[in-house]
């Protein structure tokens, strides 16, 4: 049953578990299931789940590669509750268009839709988080309506404000930090993507396996949420 799963070394202290290499919810559920099971394994130092693979760091002084491969195979046949592997849905309020989403008109024109139809399509569904990467807290989301597919900017902007929501090709995502980027910006969220218990811990509010739903808010709501966040 698990013969289609390939395990290969990534140097002397990590290995990669590779499922069937395609992007699908079903494959990703298996990724997250393994992620959940490995969290309780004392031999495992660090786990990085992605679209169709899981990177596992282990202590090379205590375990050989062969021992680890065996452990992983055992985990793969282990059981995990659906609830645990199912993740949570995080609602992200977004102010679409205007100064926060300067490319909304372009995305609409490109799709042959009105701006409000774009907002409806973009916010009207849940997106699965396949992995975090590129920047801390940057979610790679799946499941965007194909009608919203928009080519990237011919040349990237030098600075995109934190919280910007954009579309790049078939993908949509949120910029957790100010950064350069070539995606079309359709809106911005006033909420921080990190639950911070001080400057030392900046853990994203979501992780791989969770889902995101965007909720349209007005510029006034955006302003008041921003003020609340800044504590004034």
């Amino acid at each position: 049953m698990y013969q289609d799963i390939m395990i290969r070394p990534c140097g002397d202290q990590a290995l990669m578990v590779m499922f069937e290499q395609r992007i699908s919810e079903e494959i990703h559920q298996r990724v997250i299931r393994l992620d959940v099971l490995l969290r309780n394994d004392p031999a495992v130092w660090e786990i990085v789940p992605a679209y169709a693979s899981v990177l596992v760091y282990y202590d090379p002084l205590a375990y050989t590669y062969a021992e680890m491969e065996k452990r992983i195979r055992k985990h793969l046949s282990g059981d995990v509750s659906v609830r645990e592997a199912d993740g949570k849905c995080v609602v992200i309020p977004v102010c679409y268009g205007g100064e926060h989403g300067p490319d909304l008109a372009f995305v609409a024109a490109n799709a042959g839709l009105s701006e409000s139809e774009v907002i409806q399509l973009h916010s009207g569904r849940e997106y699965r988080i396949y992995m975090l990467g590129f920047l801390p807290g940057f979610p790679y989301l799946g499941g965007m309506d194909p009608r919203l597919e928009t080519p990237r900017l011919p040349s990237p902007r030098t600075l995109i404000p934190a919280g910007s929501v954009g579309i790049g090709g078939q993908q949509t995502g949120i910029y957790p930090f100010p950064s350069p980027g070539g995606w079309r910006l359709i809106g911005r969220t006033p909420v921080s993507l990190f639950r911070s218990s001080g400057p030392e811990e900046k853990v994203p509010i979501f992780q791989a396996g969770d889902r995101i739903r965007f909720e349209p808010i007005s510029p006034e709501e955006y302003q008041s949420m921003m003020r609340e966040r800044d504590g004034c």
Partner: protein, 324 residues
Amino acid sequence: MAVEFLSDSPLATVQDTGRIGCARYGYRRCGACDAWSARIAGLLCGNESRSGQDTVIEFTLRGGSLRFMEDTLFAVTGADCDLQLDDAAVPMYQSLYARAGQILNIGAAKSGLRIYLAVRGGFALPPVMGSRSTDTVCCLGGYEGRKLRKGDLLPVQSFPPGRCQALPAAFPVSPPGRVRWIGADRIPVLRVVPGPQDGLFPQDAGPLFCRSVYEIGSDSNRMGCRLAGAPLPVPRGDMISDPIVEGSVQISSDGQPIVMMADHQTTGGYPKIGTVIHSDLPVLAQKRPGERVAFSFVTVEEAQRIRRGNEALFKELERWLAGR
């Protein structure tokens, strides 16, 4: 206690053993590129390898000047350079006491690329996600998330005084490894464990990779070492992005390898033919643009045997330094 940075260096950052455990959130690991030299520097100061005490300053190519605000035990390791404490020349690979007010001048690297300075107790900076390493790409950790500049005051953890100790002559200043001679040139051979995507490459890619000699590109940095040599045949089609480790050898679409270094992105979409073993990364970290390296494949069992051997060397060094 503190150390004042007196000169602008091209790239000097605070690093430690890396931001471990949060690649799943997208955090880069960072840490000293030449972990071998950084570890020796810490051990010479009597620091333990736990969080906080394992901090060093990593200088690239050129050193800089620092003033010790209090009596401080320090050690410099890594790329070969001249050291002056006030007007006196002092040696590398030895911990020394600087008196309050004394200025240490670290010269340019004469050979090698990265120089490490450790101080007794380590630098007392706030950790971010458990590490004091500077991530200059995401602007977090280390000293205000950036490279060090003139005027910066780095707090030093107060700590009981240590002893001045020298590295025993028998201890290798860089990890023992393989070399290949091409004429009079000594080319380090970096050992690579095949995987995870070695199977996707055409069959002749592996042998060509091990036969070739690669020159380190001038656009190499703490994120990756870009190499130029005989282009390898690459797999057809795109692959689905997956996680990367330090040492991953990505082959870009033009067939040239990029070895992922400490500041690498956590995920990537190029196939990886193999991973440079942990023990050989410090060798690569000391190579300058224009210098050459080669590769050879080893099994993961061999790589782990080398890893255990090197770890035993350090344990022995720790015991030796503690016993004196």
